[in-house]
Amino acid sequence: MIQSSPKSQTTYDAIIVGSGAGGGMAAYQLAVNGLKVLLLEAGRSYDPVRETPMFKLPREAPLRGAGSREKPFGFYDATVDGGWEVPGEPYTNAPGTDFRWWRARMLGGRTNHWGRISLRMGEYDFKPKTRDGLGADWPLAYQDLAPYYDRTEMLIGVYGGDDDLENTPRSSPGVLQPPPAPRAVELLTRKHAAPMGIPVIPAHLAIMTQRQDANRLPKLLHPGNPLAQRVLRDSMLQRQACFYATPCGNGCSIKANFQSTTVLLPPALATGNVDLVPDAMVREVTIGRDGKATGVHYIDKRTRTDRHVSARIVVLAASAAETARILLNSKSARFPNGVSNSSGLVGKYLMDTVGAGIGGQIPALEGLPPYNNDGASGMHMYVPWWLYKEQLAGKLGFARGYHIEFGGGRGQPGNGSFNFLEGVTEGAYGKAYKEAARRYYGSYVWFDGRGEMIPNEDSFCEIDPEVVDQWGIPVLRFTWKWSDHELKQAVHMQQTFAQIIEAMGGKVQGTVQTDGNKAIAKGGQIIHEVGTCRMGDDPRTSVLNPYCQSWDVKNLFVTDGAPFVSNADKNPTLSILALAWRTTDYILDQLSKREIG
């Protein structure tokens, strides 16, 4: 299915730039509906079946799996050729900014490394300005996306509970797979958090606890489409349920979790309608005399040559910042500020997620008999935001919420896992050190807040006027600023986690900050950047219409995180997938009505 250069004489129906969540979903949906698709990926091809180091232990890796500049999340992390740095592909920061831009230069993009946390945005999340006067509203409501959430969850396989809490929607009956039983730390946390009014409920993760129903789901998801039903059925039959071992971050060769490379691309390619070209770094969208997109220019990284390919429609899904970069670099006499930028808003309202955390040592967890704590790699339980009413009443001093990700207990020993012993024992060595390791191993917990950032005028990306990457493409320059809402939220996170740890009878590790700047992660570090091409009802204040179609160029669409109007505390991947599916339905509708292409 893969080829190194597109067919020279063929015009495609659609060019899709990027093979991650948004690009993978677009490629799948358009291909199963008969469109001829050219899928361009800036990174190398990647085969999770052959390349995933399942069961490998730290001792088998160089330096016992230590994280490094080249592999920030450890040697076995599935992200190859990527990270906060990519050789030869720099980005810059405006003075005073220290933004970190994560990129995954590989087939499947960031879906090969992510937490699999799949939380739906709720009713409030689509209309934040209506609710508290800040930021901007989405041009669609929860009800518009809810059916696509259902379908996406059935397509990719998501476990979760059926709790129905404020702004924390539940899926339709039968959509989710059962959540795995809680771990010891999760049960203990629930026991102590519940009396504080903090709900601990089953998390929603894109990991299968049972095999998908390959006979029922394809018919349900693609009624009347035999090609789609066939390729999806075949794909579902190749996926196994989670066997509760090995970290998701290494990738999953049994295809139990969601990666574009294991879930979306195989059925897309099986249609025979997709040509996939890796090592293809798109630099520009080209525009014809009629003002419509004609195709894209890309650099073939292997030959270092520039190529042009044509299609009836162009779909950008290169990641929020990279998509903005392509649009801003697509300058012409007609579009001197870049394509689809008549509003001047491409690159603006860049958001990430607020992150702050703290850990604790819990005496109750000391000296327990050995038990397997691995589970489904990610969380089995989490805490959704619970203070909506207090917040709306102005009691918290910051406008938006966060959810809590947490864990701990008897994890796999890795590089540095026992560095804590020096402090807790005040310098033990010898017999005392070994005894301390037995006593304290598994007695630590951690809590991480993941909160909503309100879009602001001071957080954006633009083209650096002076710097190009090794392919000659002008690079992005970031400007970043948290508002008081995010800084106060980060402080609230640490204070809350400290209270939970103390309620568990534990001792907080590290300092609970009262200065938000010291508590909060840097912009980009949570790797949830969205919002550079926001959608809206008004072409003067948005880049895309309510279907992620460019206001300026009718046959140009965006299906990654760039269209996001706000960045709720809900991790963005599930919403990117659902929104991409909705966009492809619109594309097919518009094509059938001959409105585009």
Partner: protein, 228 residues
């Protein structure tokens, strides 16, 4: 364990079966026609590029894109045999053998230290100097106090030195450099020991085993945590 364990052999069989499936992204263009599913539109031969350069489908094998299945771990080791002997002795002061598990050097923790300090990169080079300088300091201190190198000291003599350098916040000013060295070695030895089978067995890490089901923690654990 409370839950049924899928034998590792079975899991490996599953993986082997999965690995024999058509490999995504690894097929040469010529294979397309054979791999295309029945019913897919046939691809005209003329549409194939005449001479497609090979697509890079696997790892480059460098630091940015290492082979994760068969990692290369080799770079020249920098520590001398004498330095290694001193480190082995110190490692065993930190993690001695006992009834439950062997000593750090018995599972090669000092070799991991050598791997670490010999690795390319500024932070590893910084640790190389700290370890080398620390080993020299340790032997000088041993000579000064007991007129022998560290490896030839008795356990009591070694303990006398280690007690002075085992915790930087409490070490006297003249032992600060030694204490920083000891801290680094303790952390490296901890990693070098507890990431091995013997180390994992010692602390009771029992994961990384495939299982068909996932159950609540064992009853005994729930009882001890008051979770019933």
């Amino acid at each position: 364990m409370a839950h049924d364990e899928l034998p590792r052999r079975e899991a490996l069989k599953t993986l082997a079966a999965a690995a024999s499936l058509p490999i995504l992204g690894a097929l040469p263009a010529e294979a397309d026609a054979q791999q295309a599913p029945a019913g897919a539109a046939p691809r005209p031969a003329a549409a194939q590029p005449a001479q497609a350069p090979a697509v890079r489908t696997g790892p480059r094998g460098d630091a940015w894109d290492p082979d994760l299945i068969n990692p290369k771990k080799d770079w020249p080791r920098k520590l001398t045999a004498a330095e290694m002997a001193t480190l082995a002795a110190l490692a065993d002061m930190i993690i001695p053998a006992d009834e439950k598990s062997p000593s750090a050097s018995a599972v090669g923790a000092h070799h991991y230290i050598n791997e670490h300090v010999s690795a390319p990169g500024a932070s590893y080079e910084r640790d190389l100097h700290r370890v080398r300088g620390g080993v020299s300091w340790l032997n000088l201190e041993s000579q000064k106090r007991f007129q022998r190198s560290f490896v030839r000291l008795t356990s009591e003599q070694r303990t006398a030195i280690c007690d002075d350098i085992c915790y930087p916040p409490k070490a006297k000013p003249e032992f600060q450099a030694g204490a920083r060295f000891f801290s680094l070695v303790r952390n490296l030895v901890g990693t070098g020991f507890y990431t091995t089978d013997a180390g994992m067995r010692d602390i009771g890490y029992v994961g990384n085993k495939p299982s068909l089901t996932w159950d609540l923690p064992p009853l005994e654990v729930r009882r001890k945590l008051g979770l019933e």
